[in-house]
Amino acid sequence: MNCETALVLIYDLVDGEILPKDEILLKEHLAICQHCQTTLKSIEKAEKIYKHEILVTPAPDSVNTITKQVLENKNVFSLQSKKPYWSTKRIVYYLGTMAASFAAFIYLAGSLIIVNLASKIDLTSAISNTSSSNFNLDMSFSQFIESDLLNLLSTITNNISQSTLLKDLAIILFLVSLQFTISYLFTQNKIKQDNKL
């Protein structure tokens, strides 16, 4: 056993937490190590100081002062009354998380739907069909909206089958419910952390 290991065991010994087998090893080491014998004596003296001097006597009137001050606040910090579930803090956390997760899910859902639509619709042909027939450079913006863009949108809409719409709706509903669940769990966790002593 080296002196470094012995030091840890010396502290175990003075704390009364040493294992019997370690105590035997330590005593064997102490029998031959003057340095650790001196350390043990020094630690024992230090222990006496800690135990004797760690407690500090407060001012004589402080018990009454503390009791009075705490009890004066009992209307504010009532023991029996339960706080309402929907506190301002909870609402703020909930709305904040909802907003953040809603933004994230809109982005995610949007990406999913666009990818889904792109795979179902032949956008190139839809654009070429509408543009080739009506579009020219002299056309005003409003005319373009009325003719080509509306044609393009109607072509896209016609290409979406009913089953695709239901699938997208299901994805959105799933994501929204997931968002509510995450918001709820986050809020619960945050409130719990705040209330932790």
Partner: protein, 190 residues
């Protein structure tokens, strides 16, 4: 650690919950010296220790309805004291008090180390206490709390581990390091 029996503790808490103010005064009187000692050793000056002590008792009062009467009260109070102290130190934002503040404490701000000591003994104890407190304040907060809980409440490393919610071996390591650091500072007193 075991000054009052669990049944008495449970009855005391029950009386407080029913609105008996004298029961709360009894509870404060029972734990005040130890709570104050933890607070003082953690923050290092009387005025802050009094504030922290009051905050711990306020927390205690607020949380009494959550106390399980089947469990001993002291570890539960220690956990509240420990968490409140950690939160207080986080809020305060100063990890350790500068040594010069400790050394220059006014006489009236120093805690009373021993009520029955002679003036000479009191001076020796006071000087040693100053050195001890300065050394404690130089410890990291987690070492300081583990050390303070151990000696104020006479707890084992297992009990400290449960109170601080830290693995026992970590607590043991912290305690060894803390005490070695203190022994190094107090070497002339040993």
């Amino acid at each position: 650690m075991n000054e009052i029996e669990p049944t008495f503790e449970a009855k005391l808490v029950e009386r407080i919950l029913k609105g008996d103010e004298s029961a709360f005064a009894e509870l404060v009187a029972q734990f005040h010296k130890r709570i104050y000692s933890i607070a003082y050793r953690m923050v290092g000056n009387v005025s802050e220790a009094e504030d922290l002590c009051q905050e711990i008792f306020l927390r205690l009062y607020q949380k009494l309805s959550q106390y399980d009467p089947n469990l001993p009260l002291t570890p539960w109070i220690c956990r509240i004291a420990s968490n409140t102290t950690i939160n207080y130190l986080k809020r305060r934002g100063i990890k350790t008090m500068p040594l010069e503040i400790m050394v220059n404490l006014k006489e009236k701000e120093r805690p009373i180390a021993d009520e029955h000591a002679t003036p000479e003994q009191a001076m020796i104890v006071e000087n040693r206490d100053k050195k001890l407190q300065s050394a404690i304040m130089e410890l990291p907060e987690n070492y300081r709390l583990a050390f303070t809980l151990k000696y104020v409440e006479n707890l084992t490393s297992e009990e400290i581990s449960e109170i601080m919610n830290i693995p026992r071996n970590t607590i043991k390591t912290w305690l060894v390091r803390a005490r070695e650091a203190l022994r190094g500072k107090l070497i002339n007193e040993l």
